[in-house]
Symmetry: none
Subunit: 224 residues, 2 copies
DNA sequence: CTTGACATAGAACATTTGTTCCTTCTATAA
DNA sequence: TTATAGAAGGAACAAATGTTCTATGTCAAG
């Protein structure tokens, strides 16, 4: 999860500008208007800071929509004082994509937070928000995990797994990423990776050939 | 105030659309969005009507500003505007279960709303919250829709579908519930129902044998 | 039937506005 | 110092969005 970093002076100013402008006109400002009012000359810098703010869950942005942004309710108060509002919802950064032949993006290999989209979910969706991030699925190679192109997979970064966990793993000698349930049976040299689809057969992999990247804790699919 | 002529049906509708849209997204709609939502195909007609409404003092428009319009306060009441605080999250009632051989619970067959569990999601997950409800999936009969036992399906109640919609339908003579993408090709007597899993074949059903129960707008799976 | 105000469509156009890319600057760690 | 990531600036670009123009349809008054 994102450790709710401190806001820069400029970012606070941007939030104030959005709040005041929206209040005054009844609709949100454009990037250029934010820039003018906050004393930033470049649209890209405003855009950059909006991404950071969005990744922190302080505002929501609708892509490719003019004036398509709004502050989260809590944000309004938060920029007044240091009221760290405990929210029932959390914002999870989408660190990148997951596809068949590509290694998974790692949560620490960031430089990414700024570019990250994010997805907001109810807290009960993830339990403990520590080390949680999300990936967007590309291609239909995860069909046997009942996961399709465009789905968002919510992950917890961890390197070991317990029996029954759905994990994301990199199988070294096949150079492939896979999502399967993890089972280790005492006495066996290999771990069993079981597809979510009960009609499909498990595969067996030697532990040394397996790089566990994290545990899948949820899947979200939008179809509208 | 001004002469306050009577509004046409269409103009009232436009005001409602603006009110609802603004409520939902936190910013006003574009001319094209108003057109779509109010059933007007031409941007110029929307523009024309906005001018009329503006002349009557019902709304304010800022020239050359995208989404630059807002309703006058009085207008909201005039058209019966329920101005609630816009919430970033909504709570969707889980009306029951969906399984292979069982008809879907209907949103109106209530008495249910009271005992319903509910699931909370970010507003952007569902778009317009009208007629939205959720069902819990039982059994693995929806595997070909990439939906498994325990998943939560978020639905919008509607009885017609557009091409490409993922729908929940009751196939009468098979007494079965199914989730598939809907395609109706002109010239064909049957509609094509396409599984989400691209490896599986579509089925063809006569429209009279099909009871569309709603549109699937999202799927949520928890695995922790 | 014709006329004219009002309403509607559709398309072309112009402006607004978000995005991307390349460069520069700064601060911190190796 | 040199390298590296974060932050910023500027310009070109592409997409979204408002405006305008022309043609068509409706309906009531003459």
């Amino acid at each position: 999860m994102v450790g709710q970093a401190r806001l820069s002076k400029r970012q606070t100013r941007i939030l104030e500008v959005i709040r005041d402008y929206t209040e005054e006109y009844g609709y949100p400002p454009t990037i250029r208007e934010i820039g003018d009012l906050a004393g930033v000359s470049s649209t890209s810098v405003v855009s950059y800071n909006l991404k950071v703010l969005q990744a922190q869950g302080l505002l929501v942005r609708d892509r490719d929509v003019s004036r398509g942004l709004r502050l989260i309710e809590d944000t309004l108060e938060a920029i007044g004082g240091a009221t760290e509002a405990p929210s029932d919802f959390i914002s999870i950064p989408i660190l990148g994509a997951i596809a068949a032949g590509l290694p998974l993006p790692l949560p620490d290999s960031d430089a990414s937070l700024a570019d990250a989209d994010s997805i907001r979910v109810a807290r009960e969706m993830v339990g403990n928000p520590m080390d949680v991030y999300a990936l967007e699925v590309r291609g239909d190679s995860m069909i046997d995990a009942l996961i399709n192109d465009g789905d968002i997979v919510i992950m917890r970064h961890q390197q070991q797994a317990e029996n029954g966990d759905m994990i994301a793993a990199w199988i070294k000698d096949e150079k492939a990423t896979t999502l399967k349930r993890f089972f280790w049976e005492p006495g066996h040299a290999a771990v069993r990776l079981q597809p979510a689809n009960p009609n499909m057969d498990p595969i067996y992999v030697h532990p040394r050939n397996l790089d566990i990247q994290g545990k899948v804790i949820g899947v979200i699919r939008r179809m509208e």
